[in-house]
């Protein structure tokens, strides 16, 4: 099977450097060959396990947790670009209205 590396890179928003896509392609071919071994195991009737704690209904009551709330200064402290209390990014939408 051929994996479309460029499509996947776009999907996970990972810009590739020159030469990386060929290397990734080769790696995927060998990795997928290895994981395709799983086809040998019959699992039609097996449930899947997405977490192993056997816990259920872990929830919190609707009570504020001010102890871990950030001030605006803390929230913004690690950002590259801020503006008047906001995080700042290049325009993501073109409004014609």
């Amino acid at each position: 099977m051929k994996v479309n590396v460029l499509h996947l890179a776009k999907l996970v928003n990972m810009p590739l450097k020159p030469g990386e896509s060929e290397k990734l392609q080769a790696g995927f071919d060998s990795t997928l060959k290895a994981v395709d071994e799983l086809k040998k195991l019959p699992t039609a009737k097996t449930k899947s396990t997405f977490q192993v704690t056997k816990l259920q209904n872990v929830w919190r009551e609707d009570i504020p947790q001010p102890e871990r709330g950030f001030t605006q200064k803390q929230a913004l402290s690690q950002a590259k670009k801020t503006y008047q209390g906001y995080f700042l990014v290049p325009r993501v939408i073109d409004d014609e209205a």
Binding site: A75, G85, V89, D95
Partner: protein, 427 residues
């Protein structure tokens, strides 16, 4: 092949819990200074983990129950992946395969049934504003809203016009408000609509395109936007063209939709169960207990008020879907004549922060007492009939005496006059 308008709605409703869907930040984000209501979780910092809000889960299920949905006893939260600056983790925690509620319905006044596909719970995104700063087109991001519990309600494409959409939305809003779980305030964005529209053979056989409209911040705009869009698409189709599958915005001034070019994001969301959140497994009893907490829904309540208090249907409907007015009515309906009280409230002649004015506050005149006074004072009644209308003052005095003066004399007089007229006719 005859095409018909086929419209489905996606409605997002912010729950008015105290805290976020997965963190303890305030869910009341409106009007706060930007980025003053965040924590590691809703800011999507490395290492932060979600813990679901029990109240939000209960409320989402109650919305589903009010819409006649089936509740899935086993459900999970799933990660939905896409990149956008308002989505801090690069995925939204939502529900995919097993939402809390599925397969409900809501009927319109005409009797037409709009099927509900699903009701699920997810987290809200951050708020973005688009501005030009130093000559550069920029987007400002405020994470105060990020992580607020959001219920998504998806209908089947059963709606056929802007008007039907509007009726459905109003009804849905009234139901959710009556549950007390959301303000459903379109202006504040606590209720958001996304109709998807096409001309298709039928709701079962959809066309190969659909158009979604965003940023509709009133029911009226929703109706107008849908109708505009239907017309626009029909014109294209009539020319043998297929409308482009896209997301469009709505411009209320121009009363028109416009193509919204969102920078490319892929639509392969790569859902999988969030390994940070163990599954939610409910019992029948748990769900039935939530069902007992449902208040009487607006429609049933309005019918009851018409029968019990003789309100007009329109007055009863207005009262039944407005939680503030309804609470006021229920508080004073034993002290003030219900019909009169209802009319005062609906006609906005009353300040809901104050008790009803003295006139109305005085006890409603008991018609039995009027009858009694008229019977006991047959002479006076006879005099009145001969034209000596001044005896009315005497009769009012008798009523006031019997009621201990706790009624409004003017009202008593009106009732007496009415009764005398009736007796006249009968006599």
């Amino acid at each position: 092949m005859k095409l018909q308008p086929v419209i489905g709605l996606e409605i997002h409703v912010e729950l008015k819990t105290k805290t976020g869907m997965f963190c303890g930040c305030s869910a009341d984000h409106f009007g706060k200074a930007p980025n003053t209501n965040t924590c590691p979780v809703c800011l999507g910092l490395p290492g932060a983990l979600p813990v679901p809000n029990h109240q939000a889960i209960d409320w989402a299920i109650m919305i589903g129950l009010a819409l006649d949905c089936r509740v899935n006893l086993e459900s999970s939260f799933d990660r939905k992946h896409y990149f956008y600056p308002d989505l801090p983790k690069g995925y939204q925690i939502s529900q995919y395969d097993d939402p809390f509620c599925q397969a409900g319905k809501l009927s319109l006044a005409s009797g037409k049934i709009i099927r509900i596909n699903r009701v699920h719970l997810e987290e809200d995104t951050a708020k973005m504003q688009h501005q030009v700063i130093d000559g550069q087109k920029m987007t400002l991001v405020d994470f105060n809203r990020s992580g607020v519990p959001l219920v998504e309600i998806v209908t089947e494409p059963d709606i056929a016009s802007g008007e039907e959409a509007k009726e459905f939305l109003k009804k849905l809003r009234d139901i959710i408000r009556s549950l007390g779980v959301s303000d459903c305030d379109m202006e504040k964005g606590s209720m958001r609509l996304e109709p998807n529209i096409s001309w298709s053979e039928s709701p079962e056989k959809l066309n190969n395109y659909k158009v979604e409209i965003k940023n509709l911040n009133s029911f009226r705009f929703a109706q107008q936007g849908i109708d505009f869009e239907l017309k626009r698409q029909k014109e294209l189709l009539d020319q043998g063209k297929t409308p482009v599958q896209e997301t469009r915005g709505y411009n209320p001034q121009k009363r028109a939709t416009f193509s919204q070019r969102v920078k490319e994001t892929s639509a392969d969301y790569r859902y999988f169960p969030d390994p940070d959140i163990p599954p939610i497994v409910l019992t029948r009893e748990y769900v039935e207990n939530l069902r007992t907490k449902l208040p009487q829904l607006p429609e049933a309540l309005a019918n009851e008020m018409v029968n019990k208090f003789h309100l007009s249907l329109s007055t009863a409907q207005l009262l039944s879907k407005d939680q503030l007015k309804l609470a006021y009515f229920n508080q004073y309906k034993n002290q003030v004549e219900p019909l009169e009280l209802a009319n005062l409230i609906v006609n906005k002649k009353i300040d809901l922060d104050q008790p009803p004015p003295t006139k109305a506050a005085s006890r409603a005149v008991d018609l039995n007492i009027i009858d009694q006074v008229l019977k006991e004072n047959a002479d006076a009644v006879a005099k009145y009939r001969t034209g000596k209308t001044s005896v009315i003052g005497f009769l009012v005095g008798q009523v006031m005496r019997l009621t201990g003066g706790k009624v409004d004399p003017k009202q008593v007089q009106d009732k007496l006059l009415k009764a005398l007229q009736v007796r006249n006719l009968q006599g």
